[in-house]
């Protein structure tokens, strides 16, 4: 009887956990779906299957052999999904990008993330957030940027090594 009770409780806990997990992971998807199709917005989703095909099966790209491409492949092979939302006045957006930036920032449930960086200047805003797994490894990266004509929200999920990403554009002489 006790064992059966424990089994029932375990099932309930797992189901509640799944529900919460679903709720959390759906947060960014909800935002992306909300704005997709609206004037000025473009939403692009690269599923894990596409990434896996390009960076694991095709070994990156057959035509590319540059050093940076190798780095991209190394980083991308552990990524399970990329979602990008861009808002641009050039694409027909009628609302001020600054207002969109604030709206998106308010829509993201920042309590679920740790803040990695927050730059706030008149013509440039960057908010970087990360979510870590049980092993304290970055499992989700979120970047929201504002420029006078454009707002971009990038979500990258999977095993992420931020140092490798940072090194992509760091000049060699500055590397530590």
């Amino acid at each position: 009887m006790k064992k059966q009770k424990i089994r029932i409780l375990n099932t309930i806990v797992i189901l509640i956990g799944l529900s919460l997990q679903l709720a959390y992971s759906a947060d960014i998807d909800k935002i992306m779906n909300k704005y997709s199709g609206q004037d000025g917005f473009t939403v692009v989703n690269i599923p894990g299957s596409s990434l896996g095909y390009v960076f694991n099966e095709m070994n990156g790209s057959r035509e590319r052999n540059k050093e940076d491409d190798k780095k991209i492949k190394e980083i991308a092979k552990d990524i399970s999904g990329i979602k990008i939302l861009t808002y641009s006045k050039e694409d027909g957006g009628k609302i001020l990008p600054n207002a969109i930036y604030n709206e998106l920032l308010a829509a993201v449930n920042t309590k679920e993330y740790s803040q990695l960086m927050n730059v706030s200047k008149k013509d440039e805003k960057v908010m970087m957030l990360v979510k870590k797994d049980a092993n304290d490894k970055v499992s989700e990266f979120l970047m929201l940027t504002y420029e006078p004509d454009e707002v971009t929200l990038i979500q990258i999920t999977g095993k992420l090594n931020l140092k490798d990403i940072k090194d992509l554009t760091q000049p060699k002489e500055n590397k530590k």
């Binding site: 009770k5 529900s19 679903l22 909800k30 779906n33 599923p47 596409s50 095909y53 990329i82 990038i154």
Partner: protein, 166 residues
């Protein structure tokens, strides 16, 4: 009853092929009718079975478990939390799925599957993140240099004031 029928039933009985009705017929025969000598050896067995069936126990020395009731309660216990969990999951799916399954609005999210586009967009995303990481950290580096400079100045000031006091 015809003794030949009884003999056939006995054969079937000992081969384990009799039905419940046939066993009842045997019990009835051996308990109520005059049994011929050749079948007497089987009579005691069926009389014993009949007596055993008629005994009704009333005063047990121990309490019998209420098996059926417990089973019933158990079943009820299983279904309540299970049903609650399923309802919770369904509600979660409806409310938290990125696209409401009951909504007819079409998603305009562009899903990229073409290898070349996948590569280029991944490259764009990673470079955008990398540049911003470096921009932010570059500012931190500048702050560090500034702090180091301030520390050096402080050291010089301390040395100067020490010399003056000497």
């Amino acid at each position: 009853m015809d003794i030949r029928i009884i003999k056939k039933l006995l054969e079937k009985y000992y081969e384990g092929e009799t039905s419940l009705e046939e066993e009842a017929m045997l019990r009835d025969y051996f308990n109520n009718e005059d049994v011929p000598q050749e079948l007497k050896k089987y009579q005691s067995q069926f009389v014993f079975y009949q007596r055993e069936r008629e005994i009704e126990y009333q005063n047990y020395d121990f309490a019998l478990p209420k098996g059926r009731e417990i089973h019933h309660t158990k079943k009820q216990l299983y279904w309540i939390p299970a049903a609650a969990a399923v309802i919770l999951l369904i509600i979660s799916i409806i409310f938290f799925l990125p696209q409401n399954p009951f909504s007819h609005k079409q998603s305009n999210v562009i899903t990229v599957t073409d290898p070349d586009s996948t590569y280029r967009i991944t490259e764009y995303a990673l470079y955008a993140v990398s540049e911003n990481l470096n921009k932010g950290l570059g500012k931190l580096d500048k702050l560090e240099y500034l702090q180091e400079g301030m520390n050096a100045l402080n050291k010089i000031n301390i040395n100067l004031s020490n010399k003056e006091s000497n």
